[in-house]
Symmetry: D2
Subunit: 390 residues, 4 copies
């Protein structure tokens, strides 16, 4: 009888605010599944207020936290990024040794994810990789595929990604196209599109009141490209000048902690002090449900976040993707790519404003990925031995 068998313990490690948004429906599905037990580990920048203190949102959402681990080194440069990876492994090894999960779930291509996958692999714990097989630029490209090679089960967003994972030598029966669970939350959060946050700017940013009516504002989210560490300051400057030229109300989100994020932050501060652009509102964090409402109503999303490709595709929001960070990732027709050049950026945004909303696409999912992923974890055989298929 099912209820008598031991439930599988599924450890999920959330290390930054974006990961939580992407995993939320999956986490709920695991928690609610009769055959699964969720062991939620919160660490790295997800614990730090400076980066939005995702941990508070997670607790407010009613999740029980099995362990908290601090392991981000100060510096936001390549040395400390490497050391953070190492320290993440050390911390997670202790936690896994004490929690003894049946599988560990990692998402994406960040350095913490590589550390988590490595720790779990060495501890003979099956590694489940979410969002593998995608293509981008930068160090993320190396890390994502390295995690694929360490992982035992692959829950990917698109058919293209699945094909790539298989070509990387993974066995066919370990690769599942589930769609991306970030789409789930984007879908449910935008059923009601009304953005009515009393005191939004008071709470989350500075500047005059903001009209959040659909199509009235831009949204910027630009993350560092760690392999272009030296040029980061100039890259962000181009985006800033483009926005300054457009003079439209703009919501600007601070970057993730990464090598280079200090340079981006510095760029933002210098810009703010110099130009005092009252039409730009800066945000550190926002609960994902509110965030998606803000996305769906924006006239255009700009920057280098994967949100500008994944979620905007599903929501039909025009997107301008800057630089190399997302290069190679599958994208819908709503995305225009430009270089680190203010003229190009301005021209693309104007073109998107003219175009307006796109037809929504299910390229990255249909909004039901989370439960699909949980079901696979409950039903699939979990193993740790594998061999390249060629």
């Amino acid at each position: 009888m099912r209820h008598q068998s031991r439930r599988r313990k599924i450890a999920v490690v959330v290390t930054y605010r974006g990961a939580y948004a992407r995993l939320k429906t999956f986490l709920q599905a695991v928690r609610n599944h009769p055959d699964l037990e969720l062991q939620l580990i919160v660490g790295a920048s997800a614990l730090l207020e400076k980066y939005g203190g995702a941990v508070n949102v997670i607790e407010a959402d009613g999740f029980e936290i099995a362990a908290r681990i601090y392991f981000v080194l100060e510096g936001e440069n390549p040395v400390t990024m490497a050391k953070t990876t190492g320290m993440g492994i050390m911390e997670l090894a202790t936690v896994l040794d004490n929690l003894r999960p049946d599988a560990v779930v990692v998402i994406g291509d960040r350095y913490e994810s590589l550390g988590i996958a490595a720790a779990a692999a060495y501890m003979n714990t099956p590694v489940v990789h979410v969002q593998g097989g995608e293509v981008t630029g930068s160090i993320d490209e190396k890390v994502r595929h390295a995690i694929t090679k360490l992982a035992d089960l692959h829950l990917v967003a698109t058919e293209g990604a699945a094909e790539r994972v298989r070509r990387l030598g993974e066995e066919k029966d370990t690769v599942f196209v589930t769609g991306c669970s970030s789409i789930d939350l984007a879908a449910t959060s935008t059923k009601d599109r009304t953005v009515d946050f009393p005191g939004l700017t008071q709470q989350y940013g500075a500047g005059p009141a903001l009209d959040l009516a659909a199509g009235k504002y831009l949204l910027v989210m630009q993350h560092p490209v760690t392999t272009e560490y030296e040029d980061m300051y100039e890259h962000i400057h181009e985006t800033l000048m483009a926005i300054f030229e457009l003079k439209m109300p703009t919501l600007w989100f601070w970057p993730n902690v990464d090598a280079g994020s200090d340079k981006i932050s510095k760029g933002l501060r210098v810009f703010r002090e110099k130009y005092q652009p009252s039409f730009v509102h800066f945000f550190k964090n926002m609960p994902p449900e509110k965030f998606y409402k803000v996305v769906v109503n924006s006239a255009c999303m700009i920057g280098s976040s994967s949100v500008g490709i994944r979620e905007t595709s599903f929501l039909g929001v025009p997107s301008v993707t800057i630089g190399t960070r997302q290069a190679g990732r599958e994208r819908g027709p709503n995305v225009m790519d430009v270089g680190y050049d203010r003229t190009e950026i301005v021209r693309a945004i104007r073109s998107q404003l003219v175009h307006g909303p796109y037809t929504p696409s299910t390229l990255y999912g249909d909004g039901r990925a989370g439960e699909r992923m949980a079901a696979i974890l409950a039903d699939t055989q979990l193993k740790i031995e594998k061999r390249i298929t060629y």
Copy 2:
């Protein structure tokens, strides 16, 4: 003019005795190359006397050591193996930050290698991977291909390996077949095959005097399979009983430090105390030059070390490979595969003894890999940006 350009600084990290043997001719070639500067980093078990203190051999060979890093956690179990990986990253990040090499060379598929590759990748230092593209079982299989995905330049041993690295999505012009530099040392060390080590057993092992004439003794080297951590003790027991049944003079080398090596060591100790087999001589370490003389004269090499596939192939020494650790690796006709079963092992060794030496093969190299590798490092463009080729 060549002499005016800055020499490329090549950091090589040696973490265990076997790695030094495999890299020695390469290290010499880098040191002697007019356009290269060697930064030799010695760490992990290569610093520990308990595992043969490779550092002493390295210094005796005249190499200058740029940095020493201790980072092996006690325990020899999956938790400490993971933690060691993490700590290796942290240590290496500091060292690389202080040495600022132009490229970092890692070899093989051990956990330290993954840590090194990750640290270098995050520090935007080109990663050169030696011995990628091979196929085996166990966690090594995961780690080897993960390192390939983190690496920027691939110096592989065989055509088969090169093909596999390319199929993993690496660009063609970053993959070079150089042969394996371990063959270099095997080749030069065995030009004179005389094994005349006065006091060999006094120095390195216990038991009655050993006749090292060609074909008169067996050689065993069995490493743990970390994904079979729980069964290790029984696995080694089968090999021990096989050797006990054959009652031939045997040189037995202690295992590497790895999850499970304590279980193997325990197996060896219990066996030694119970059976007091005067014909088995245990060794912790041996300078590689002596080691290869001992290999080339052995009647058969037994166990799970890659030496039993690579070097024996070149030397034409009969080999019996036990279990899953080397499963999938390309092999010459001199290798017989068996399971963890004393009867199978005994039968295979007897069959090899009847056959005697094999025709040498250059499958894993022609003895000139080291200088070829150094030349590539001097002449090839070093870069850190890459993207999967499909």
Copy 3:
């Protein structure tokens, strides 16, 4: 009403076999106290089979383990000892952050203890130090008093120790003379002095059967002195030669993990192979209850362990203390001090054999320290602010 108030959570960190023996009655008293909740953390060599796997004994005794932390670096030299201290802090910080105790108890003067005290102090958790105020040589002397300065509550063994802690500038009402809880276990374990371990030597050591009748054998326990790291091998050699000269049945316990323990181990192994002294029986570990029976029946305890001063004093066992490790520690009349010199050692042992058992002393406690300590933890105000009293 008492049962409604929250129980104080008392975290105790056990890092080696000796610490468990010393704390066992205290741990029981905390577990049984209605106002206290025990959070037992087991780490370092207490987790390693190589050092006696104290964790197994702890679990067999019915204690629930709140967290396990591995943090011993391989090497047993000064570098790795320092790194182990650092890693202990890192690990413990995570554990304390997750367990949130009201106080942390550390014992003695080992490097792990310093790390624990530092971690707790920085985390604003009151630090309770057991066995402060004593005097010895070596690095222990530095570390013990440094821990006193980090600690908020002092549970000391003797009046002399209490006076020393107060002179170190600690406030009087934070210093309590409880006696040493190691005496508790020595007391209860030796109520019945019969040593009747069927198959003792089979289980725990090698060699011919051992007559454990009172007064028929010697007991040796010599730990490294880390500040004399370079001379360790010769120091142990003198003790070995003294025992070899006496040719009495001898139980020899392997040393703790410390810088230098590899040198002692090597000394023991070389000696064993060279002299094959059938009358010396080597032991890695023994449950403390059995150990104390073995102590009380021994003709003389020899070496540098504090057992040779504390417990032997209470048990009236003649003791010969070698070298600087225990120099300065208060001692009863049963202790003779000698240098690292085989002639001195032999002469002292012979003199002790002539003397025979001493009158028991309560210098280090009366056998009821554990419950006294627990009561203080339940009743005393716990605070973290303090200032030197002069």
Copy 4:
């Protein structure tokens, strides 16, 4: 002959901007001493631009850096502070193992200093402690005296400090009153008191031009008290409101990285946004020579930095010291102590403004400490064995 003997290698670890200011003349004296060789290690917040990037100033001053070590964990809370201590030990152990100094110099009472002292002590390297024996509140008080107990040589600022170190059980011939080397730099930097920094506010802060004429402005430097972690935000708020009430031109320096510094920073930012006080100029860092000119000309120094006690005493600058952080430290008549209360703070500042400059005192040194300290390091016997004197 002197020049033939090997020079003593003196490792000095600088971990934050204030430490460099305090040690600069000592570092110069070591570098210039014929019998000493300086091994300058720069780590922790001294490497981070966010905290003033002291490393750039150090290099601009012509010092060669022997090693850089990153080890500050993000979070600025008790957990990460503890972990940073641990990681500092791990990093420093590697560096010391590679540099092999004859002595390690640590200053003060910060967590990095405890880690450095512990690492050096375990590595059998003599520890030289600068600024021991002083009295303050907070965790610093615990850590300072713990470092004294780990240290082998004590270079203290005042006779009172020397007496305290001796009472802590240190041998008399290891305690030297040298004065505080921070006074040296204060003395030389203020020989010419002219503050004429073209573009000071452009370079270092925001706001309208600042008149730096003597007596025309206030200077604030308030660091967190880690044991009052929870109340930090309110504490800083009181100081802010006091300054806001006074409405005098004010130079405000950001706090050190410590548990609580994020709360202080947040307080500063909220205040700045809310009140937009054009008369307050915020600074992250300033070369010490400029800083001391700014101090000597200030009408009053306010906060909890030890500068408000040490250097102001020598410079005769009125000082208002807030809260518990400096409680107990010896002070001259120029210091007024107040609680975390805006009314008290305002009243004390006004009283100091009325009083004006004080007669300079040599309580903390005469301006020649650096060379005195170097001479002691060159001439004193360095040893690692010690025992408490009572």
